[in-house]
């Protein structure tokens, strides 16, 4: 399992799906671990009843069906698929509405889904949420999982684990194909007052985290690969030499 995760850290992120399916076939005994530990590019399905698309992930899967956050129904239909409690479902509906607005303001498009479920181990709720933006040849997939601890004296503990998977490809005659892809994952723990409600706290955490991740990808990660290219072939030297040719 450790070796499998090692491989996932080295394989090109744009081949995540292939790598994962290869590992799944080699290590069927670890399939549930693999599926829960490796984030893969998000897929979507359309909820015909609402005419809206929703994101498929481990958090809304039961057997081979996925629960739509809009109609609360499984696609394809599943007779006794697990559903959140009424109270949790109410919060889920609300969260989906709010995150749709949030997504629209930051992504100007894309799809978002929020799923809630109760965790067996802890007395609390958990939120899985994915979101994606599309560009001709680019995709931004974000998955945020928040574990909310039990409420104590008006505060609760929140643990956010976020993954952003990004791939950009440009292809043109003069410069060939240029493809950058990456995935990073971070965690954030906070103890917050529940006065303004869970959604408010979770929302702020996710917003802060997304901005951080975006910044790291832009500044650090892409910057580092650019730095590498310039170490391989320093540009200043070349510019100086240009008049010769």
């Amino acid at each position: 399992m450790e070796a499998a995760m090692g491989l996932m850290r080295r394989m090109p992120p744009k081949h995540t799906e292939t790598s994962l399916s290869a590992l799944l076939s080699l290590l069927p005994q670890h399939s549930s671990d693999l599926l829960s530990q490796v984030d893969q590019p998000l897929q979507v399905l359309c909820d015909m009843e609402y005419g809206k698309e929703f994101i498929l992930c481990e958090y809304n899967r039961d057997a081979d069906s996925y629960r739509s956050p809009w109609s609360n129904k499984y696609h394809p239909p599943l007779e006794d698929g697990s559903l959140p409690s009424l109270e949790l479902r109410k919060l889920e509906v609300e969260a989906n509405d709010i995150f749709a607005i949030y997504r629209d303001q930051y992504y100007e498009g894309g799809i978002s889904s929020v799923y809630m479920w109760e965790d067996d181990n802890e007395d609390g709720s958990k939120t899985g949420q994915g979101r994606r933006g599309y560009l001709q040849e680019g995709a931004w997939d974000a998955i945020h999982v928040i574990e909310v601890g039990p409420e104590e004296e008006g505060t609760a503990h929140y643990r956010l684990t976020s993954t952003v998977m990004l791939s950009l490809t440009t292809d043109n005659e003069s410069s060939g194909t240029f493809s950058l892809s990456g995935s990073i994952r971070r965690q954030m723990n906070m103890h917050l007052s529940t006065e303004e409600g869970h959604l408010c706290n979770m929302g702020r955490m996710i917003e802060e985290m997304e901005s951080k991740l975006r910044n790291s990808l832009d500044q650090v990660y892409f910057g580092k690969t650019k730095e590498m290219v310039c170490t391989l072939r320093p540009p200043s030297e070349v510019v100086m030499r240009l008049p010769d040719s």
Partner: protein, 298 residues
């Protein structure tokens, strides 16, 4: 239980998967990938088979350079210099490296004719100069691709320029490689040289994440057939020009990222240019919900 399920994959499939992982290793990381693949495959015989097929392919496609014993120089592992399995010629020193154990002098029939060698040697000198200037850690070699037995004017032949620069700094979580292969056809009849270049640049940054650059570019050019020295100078200038332009276009792609590509995917701030008003939206959304429910009449 695991054994039963694993039996569903044939040995051949497992080997193919192992090879796929090995061949997709980022620059300079195949040893690390190999360690993990070995553990995942959990079958040493099968792993050895996969590795023995994948390593030579990886080394050739990454244009790995290997120091020859006796400090006589480096030999590039490329299909252009491959004489037999694990045997690679270094035209500059006319030595054949038997990877990775020994070197032997090249046999006469492994070397180009004196006529072709004159062009090759002149080209090698120019490219060596260029690579020395442009790539801090670059290695290069010029091979005869076709027509090594051409004895004099009147026939076509082909030279291949291979340039490889790699930088591995795992302590900085970063590896990268620049590879270019230029084939130059000497067309005797039309007295022209036709160049085709394939450039490939890769980089992997993996501190708390996995980000990879994979860029490829192909280009073409022509120049007139001149004396060996003049041809060599003309060609190294063309290569320099194209590679410089390519680097500039790579930099341009990078500098376009923040403003265009990235912004189209996710903005730094919402369209409103202020952080998302979580508290207000909560109320807004609740009111909207109620109106909606009333409106639909559910």
């Amino acid at each position: 239980m695991a054994d039963e399920e694993e039996a569903e994959l044939s040995e051949k499939q497992k080997k193919e998967i192992a090879k796929w992982f090995l061949l997709n290793s980022p620059p300079g990381e195949i040893q690390f990938v190999a360690k993990d693949v070995k553990a995942v495959i959990n079958d040493d015989v099968l792993y050895e088979e996969a590795a023995s097929e994948a390593f030579p392919l990886y080394n050739k496609s990454h244009l790995i350079s290997i120091e020859m014993p006796g400090r006589i120089g480096d030999v590039i592992v490329t299909s252009y210099g491959e004489l037999a399995k694990n045997e690679f010629i270094d035209p500059r020193t006319a030595q054949v490296a038997v990877v990775c154990t020994e070197v032997r002098p090249a046999l006469d029939e492994e070397l180009p004719s004196a006529y072709v060698e004159e062009f090759r040697c002149a080209m090698d000198a120019e490219i060596l100069k260029y690579v020395g200037e442009a790539y801090p850690k670059g290695v290069c070699s010029v091979y005869c691709g076709n027509g090594k037995d051409v004895e004099g004017p009147g026939f076509d032949f082909e030279l291949v320029v291979v340039i490889s620069a790699a930088r591995h700094s795992p302590q900085n979580f970063c590896n990268g490689s620049w590879r270019s292969v230029w084939s130059i056809e000497f067309k005797d009849e039309i007295q022209m040289l036709e160049l085709k270049g394939k450039l490939q640049v890769g980089a992997h940054y993996f501190e708390e994440g996995n980000v990879q650059l994979d860029a490829k570019h192909e280009c073409k050019d022509t120049t007139i057939f001149q004396s060996s020295e003049d041809s060599a100078i003309a060609i190294s200038n063309i290569i320099r020009q194209h590679e410089t332009e390519y680097l500039t276009s790579l930099e341009a792609s990078y500098s376009n990222l923040p403003d265009t590509t990235f912004k189209d995917l996710r903005r730094k701030l919402p369209v409103t240019r202020t952080l998302f008003p979580w508290q207000n939206t909560l109320q807004f959304s609740l009111t909207r919900d109620i109106t909606k429910e009333l409106g639909i009449g559910k």
